[in-house]
Symmetry: C2
Subunit: 221 residues, 2 copies
Amino acid sequence: MTRVKVFTNILKANDSIAQKNRDIFNKNRVYAINLMSSPGSGKTSLLERTIESLKDELKIAVVEGDLQTDKDAKRIEKYNIPVVQINTKGACHLDSKMVDRVLGFFNFQEINLLVIENVGNLVCPASFDLGEDDRVIMVSIPEGDDKPIKYPVMFRKAKVVLINKVDLLDYTNFNMAGIKKDALSINPHLKIFEISCQAGEGLEDWFDWLKEQVRKKRDED
Amino acid sequence: MTRVKVFTNILKANDSIAQKNRDIFNKNRVYAINLMSSPGSGKTSLLERTIESLKDELKIAVVEGDLQTDKDAKRIEKYNIPVVQINTKGACHLDSKMVDRVLGFFNFQEINLLVIENVGNLVCPASFDLGEDDRVIMVSIPEGDDKPIKYPVMFRKAKVVLINKVDLLDYTNFNMAGIKKDALSINPHLKIFEISCQAGEGLEDWFDWLKEQVRKKRDED
């Protein structure tokens, strides 16, 4: 009982700082996404592909959440875009305060897309609003098709599901129609993309969708 | 600061109940493992293969930790062994109290191996002793070879690492020598098995190791 109350208070504090972050994103017309998945689904690879293709069209910046290494941040740094590493020191998710602390490192005049790559975890990050416009979840073929049923909170609050590693589809018993049906039964508004970051498949639709969101945010009243 | 203290108190309470669970396992000479991995690495498939092969030699029972479904428990139930489902109601890990609450459902006279399948998560479960004899971590090829470096706590406290889905090795750029080197640099005592639950590869060594542990526990003074 005590733990539940502690958690409720933590979430309330988190929400108020998330709103502060959101105000900053809105004021600067920066479209912000919170990118979440299991460890090893391919979040950083998605970022690499996305930056490679869109860095001349969009002004992209990245926040990298990680338990203790800067491996992922180093993978992004080579593209010469603004990237800030948050080391959670063992915490299993980002919270809005961690993000708040690093926003000062960015020049938001020079950014229109901010991607916050969360810690690899399908559970805890779902509870913590970071102030993002939208949540993007990635699942990958080898993880199996039962993720929406087993982690419904994550899917309920998301805007997009990226199903990665479709190049491995033939080597598994993954049920693509099944996972889509399950995900949409939890959240009928989900946009679902089938992609392979390694093989470069299906990414154009994701790029187009992303550009559309950035444009909408820029032009909104 | 406050959060850290709360967490420390929670862990202290957890450790004392874990010791109570451990006493029960020891008194009954039951070898207990805490099986952990990311979502979708193949923990339940490993259990299926292990039960199929060893159920006549060992007296196996299973505790299934899950956020909210009983999908995994149902997969185990069909083998007619004792299985109890713990529904964590959203909590991202098992704790010793959750396990304590279900131990009464088992007849330990009829069990010599208890496998506790934790919630799919490479972070939080690492902090919570359940009273197990040993921790077994599973990682799988498509998740990538960077898991030891990114989740060192998990590896530091483990006895065994199972590298699953080796049948997918040819379709990825997974560095097998690299992950082993990284894992052993964190924990030189790790026992590492390369397996494929789907293709049935490499499982004999795991079975032999498991039987040896059960035998040791039975024969210990």
